[in-house]
Symmetry: none
Subunit: 297 residues, 2 copies
């Protein structure tokens, strides 16, 4: 199983190193990657291994975050409700989405019982259908939720409460598929074009299923970008998104300047797009050597 906890700390390297050490202290949990963003004031850790080891490592990491991060002092451009903000479990191999949801629920119970951290569940671990979407749970951020979690029955935590943890807020734990973060840069500095393309292609406005998109301006480079999350690349692959953006861009009279992969991608996500362009008639993820190797290890 893989777990990609997001923490509301992107500047203080001491705190991030303590989180990394907590993860590494658990036998069988492997820290594959860590990324921090000072503007977002946020960090992402990628952990993989056997379910129990990963869950235990994530608990230890959250314990450090709860002890070290005070949301009352935290400002960043990224919406968040907790010191440990979002904690998704992702099936990798020999594990299903239901088992990942169970992992999420068990971790949530432990977070409340041992750390007094209130928990919301989202995506495939959601206990209320309206909480499947992360955006719905996180709406208003820490500043609003610490009030509404007390007053509004629709916003109370799934486990714990009433109200949020005074400094660490709450945590959103879930189970979901592998998410691809993929950005396409345009040959224009007009951010409105990127925004119109984003609206055209994203699922929420009737575009491609499982695509989240927004148009942003990359000030340092003077170019507009369509910034995307693909939440189910088997349904909407990279090449479909790329072609859709290219088509919409050409209607706007601009072109694609280049694309960027953020974080890690499963081999199959890239391979299926290669197979598409190669017109491969017998492609399946089973042709990927590394996937076979992982099955026998």
């Amino acid at each position: 199983v893989e777990c990609v906890p997001n923490f509301s700390e992107g500047r203080n390297e001491n705190v991030l190193e303590a989180i990394a050490q907590a993860i590494k202290s658990v036998n069988g949990a492997h820290l594959l990657a860590r990324e921090k963003d000072a503007d977002h004031h946020r960090s992402v850790f990628t952990i993989a291994g056997q379910p129990d080891a990963v869950s235990s490592a994530v608990f230890q990491a959250i314990a450090v975050a709860v002890a070290s991060i005070d949301l009352n002092q935290h400002q960043g451009v990224h919406p968040r409700i907790g010191a440990a903000d979002v904690v998704p479990f992702i099936p990798v191999q020999d594990i299903g989405m239901n088992e990942c949801a169970l992992l999420a629920h068990n971790l949530g119970k432990r977070l409340w019982s041992e750390l007094r951290l209130p928990v919301y569940f989202y995506e495939s671990a959601a206990l209320r259908p309206e909480r499947r979407l992360l955006e719905a749970v996180r709406k208003g951020g820490f500043e609003q939720l610490r009030v509404t979690a007390l007053e509004d029955p629709a916003r109370t935590p799934d486990i714990g409460g009433p109200g949020l943890h005074p400094t660490a807020g709450a945590v959103i734990v879930g189970a979901r598929k592998f998410l691809l973060a993929f950005n396409i840069n345009l040959t224009t500095s007009d951010v409105q074009i990127a925004r119109r393309i984003a609206v055209k292609i994203r699922a929420s406005s009737g575009g491609l299923p499982h695509v989240k998109a927004m148009g942003v301006m990359l000030a340092s480079r003077g170019i507009a970008q369509v910034s995307m999350n693909l939440t189910d690349y088997e349904v909407t692959p990279l090449h479909v998104v790329y072609e859709a953006v290219r088509t919409e861009a050409s209607l706007e009279g601009v072109s694609i300047a280049g694309s960027e992969i953020i974080g890690l991608m499963p081999a199959a996500a890239l391979a299926q797009s290669a197979a598409h362009w190669l017109q491969c008639v017998n492609y399946s993820p089973a042709v990927i050597f590394e996937k076979k190797l992982l099955l026998v290890d």
Copy 2:
């Protein structure tokens, strides 16, 4: 280490199943894939594991092939000199090319001493520089080599002989980089077109480096095919080969009907081509999730 033995049997499932069972009978040798092609009358097995286990499994598989396949009865479009035709060892992780060549040499000695199968060594295991290229060793196929191996000192086996095994021919054992087997089918039944395209793109006639290509007729489907091996995909990637064939095909007035991946491919081989078509500006093999996972296992 990985080993990808090719056998001159692509139709009789009983023989192929016996070969597979022989491989699986060896503890620690993992049969990752098996493929057969009735037109080529040829099969490929992919085995991975610790060097000793893989070498032992390959020996058992070849023993079955020697006992079951009679080249005097064998016809297929693919050139071959043996029941077990080509047996390359490929370094995967924590092993070098020299160690793979040593594995090849030790297997060769055992094949002659226990099965009386003459052995030629190729690529990084070659004992004579003119035998580095597989085509040079295989020239003329079984029908010609069973005569010249006796008469021509330049064609005698590296181990064993004189002459070939009466029914199993000889085996070509070697050590090499990961090889991509990739075929492109054309929208024509004219095999001469496939042959002219093969000549244009292959390294041996001044085309793309590390590309071997031949034009073959797929009788069962009535289409011509450019059948290729890419012996260094980091130098000449899949998309470069695909585009070259497309260009040459269009000059011949035909199109690409589809492509086929034979056997397994490293994730990076497909990912780099996806990155090309996606115009990805920050791609590196380090973005592939499974590669990270294998590093920690």
